[in-house]
Amino acid sequence: MPSPVTDFFESLRDRAHSALAGGGKAGKVTIQVGSATCEHAAGSLDVLDEFTKHIQSSGSDGIVIHKTGCTGRCSKEPIVGIFIPGQAPVKYERVNRELVHEIFTKHIQKGIPLPEHALDGSLDRKDGPEKSGKTSISKHFSDMYGDVSFFTAQNRVAMRHSGVLDPESLEEYISLDGFKALATVLSKSDPEWVINEVLKARLRGRGGGGFMTGQKWKFASQNEEKTRYIICNGDEGDPGAFMDRGMLESDPFSVLEGMIIGAYAIGAGKGFWYIRAEYPLAIKRIQNAIDLCKAAGLLGKDIMGSGWDFEMEIRLGAGAFVCGEETALIRSIEGERGQPKVRPPFPTTRGLWGKPTCINNVETFANITAIINHGGEWFASVGTEESGGTKVFALAGKVKHTGLVEVPLGTPLRDVVFGIGGGVQDDRPLKAIQTGGPAGGFIPASMDTLAVDFGPLSKVGSIMGSGGMIVLSEDDCIVDISKFYLSFTQEESCGKCTPCREGTTRMLEILERITGGSAVLEDLDKLERLARLCQQTALCGLGRAAPNPILSSLKHFREEYIEHIEGKTCRAKKCVAMIHFEINAEACIGCTACVRNCPVNCIAGQRKEAHSIDQSRCVKCGQCFDFCRFNAVERK
């Protein structure tokens, strides 16, 4: 049945298609270059510049450059894709200026690909999407990357457009079913239907809390107060987590469309983006998306001819980790110090300026359009009984392939770390997997078959969190890493409540004593008691979760703490106070590499004679250990 909304959408789509056909990639060679903060840091701007120069000097008008977002394959960036009409796309990894020249002159101009530089070292489409058994909802993505096992082992929903779409082009987004979901929602004109679909999808908040999104929306929509707000939480502060930045930079329109749909469902007239000031490119791309949507009638007054009005604006964070907590975030938007408030009342009851407010994470919004387009039941079928859909993780630490990975909830941790991540670096034994950043905990290697889902993770003392996943090998000291996380939360504690302000400081002092070799066993009980106290009595999520790394490591790795205290030994040889370096005279060939590189000149020995270290002057910097190619330097 034609309605103003469907008419609007069809004409929008026709215009987008004709604009794209006019700008024309059809029949031309397309060079696809990733363009996000991480790609830029890896040198993709140089690559872009070099390709532009080459195209200009070749004088050919049959070659176009296509800037896209980031695929999440961090360790191989910058990645370049070459499409020659009628041929399978070829992807190259770690491209630099010299390689651009080679690709251009050999592959593009002579048609000879360079297998030695291909992504993951192969040009064979050996395990295409049809063989992987996983279905991708983005044909576009699987056409492009369907032959790379790093991607086929994933299931991309929230990140379905990341790395294939130009994040600054509204037309491209519309050509990939963009704003179809919003058109569906507005032409149904039934907010309750939207909430029911999201409830059916069993979508849980991706920011860390894991609260049912549909439930949250329902609470806000049932409030008597009619002035309501919706907020997108892009204050991603976990050290080592960059999922939200990835999505904001690579697919801003999906997040924006999800947010408009959320606003419609709860009846909000105004929305805010709260994004870290440290993410300038994400801010720029979201502002660009807002401006383009406004001009196209997708935001502002009478959206898509439906008669419904909705506005949004960006508010910048200013470097406070605690502002990721929803009540602190609200205070920050109000222009106050970002200190949390007691809940209840929850923001859905009394939020921004006292009005009902829904705060959802970037990834949560990125899933909404997929739920509307493919149905809540489909989304639920991807995940587990408990929670539907997928989760994006920032896989890092001692893992071979670092990057952003998206897997269905319920996937065993093992499949993520070994299947997609390729296993532990240098094939060292896996020690533990840390999830949830400073608010999360450690999962020992023996539990690597555990399913990634909200329930199972919290049962073993960790949390899903926003999606940080750090792989630790036998070379990492659990006590040392716990100390690292605690020093982070201690520094970020806002100081409002005593358990967190004082508790984190005292716990850090105890951990410093343990790693420094001056602790006694009694300290361990104190540490545990303090951790539980902080967990139970702190005001907000930051304080309550701050002891998680300690409690989970005490649960699974208590013996390591005891070794530090009683034996004054660190089995990972990380805690400087407990190790010293020695040179094994039999293995030393007298190459003087250590002598030359010792920063404090405390290694004695002539060429072809065994060297020795003067322990009284050694600062334990480990340079000699790193420089020795004969394994003669030993950490003891």
Partner: protein, 181 residues
Amino acid sequence: MNHQTSTTDNWEAIRAACLDVLPAHIIAFIEQNQDMEHSEGQLIAVLHMVQAHFGFLGQDTMHAVAQLAQIPLAKVTGVATFYHYFRLQPRGKHMINVCLGTACYVKGAEKVAQRLMDELGIHFGETTRDGLFSLDSTRCLGTCGLAPVVMVDNQVFGPLTPTDVSVLLAKYVKKEKVAAE
């Protein structure tokens, strides 16, 4: 709740004083928001603009923001000090960080630091009068092999003797002089 623009007798004088301190685009932003609902929520945005313009939040600029936006100075200062992103001290054109990690310390970082302080006439955390250099110390930069090291902006120099430091500083000063001419 929005702030009504003040109607006190001396408002014109107060506004004129603010105009002397803040650039026109920030004044325009504050005044344009003033009569809107929840205008005080723009405080952080205003502080971002001030820092982008001046490089830091000074006493005078925060005072002008407080006056013009009709927000107590205590609150403006409270917000500015809460967020790590805001700096209250000006930063020089070049940031000099002396590594005081163990390896550098043992190799004489202290002497290097002392020479820097003598030559620049400032201590850690301060900026030279001409605004060219800020000096600070840092924990290990992870370049122990080059100890003792100094990081100027994003470039690491090492190993350095106090004499090397004087030469290095002179190079930067010369570069600035050439640029100025």
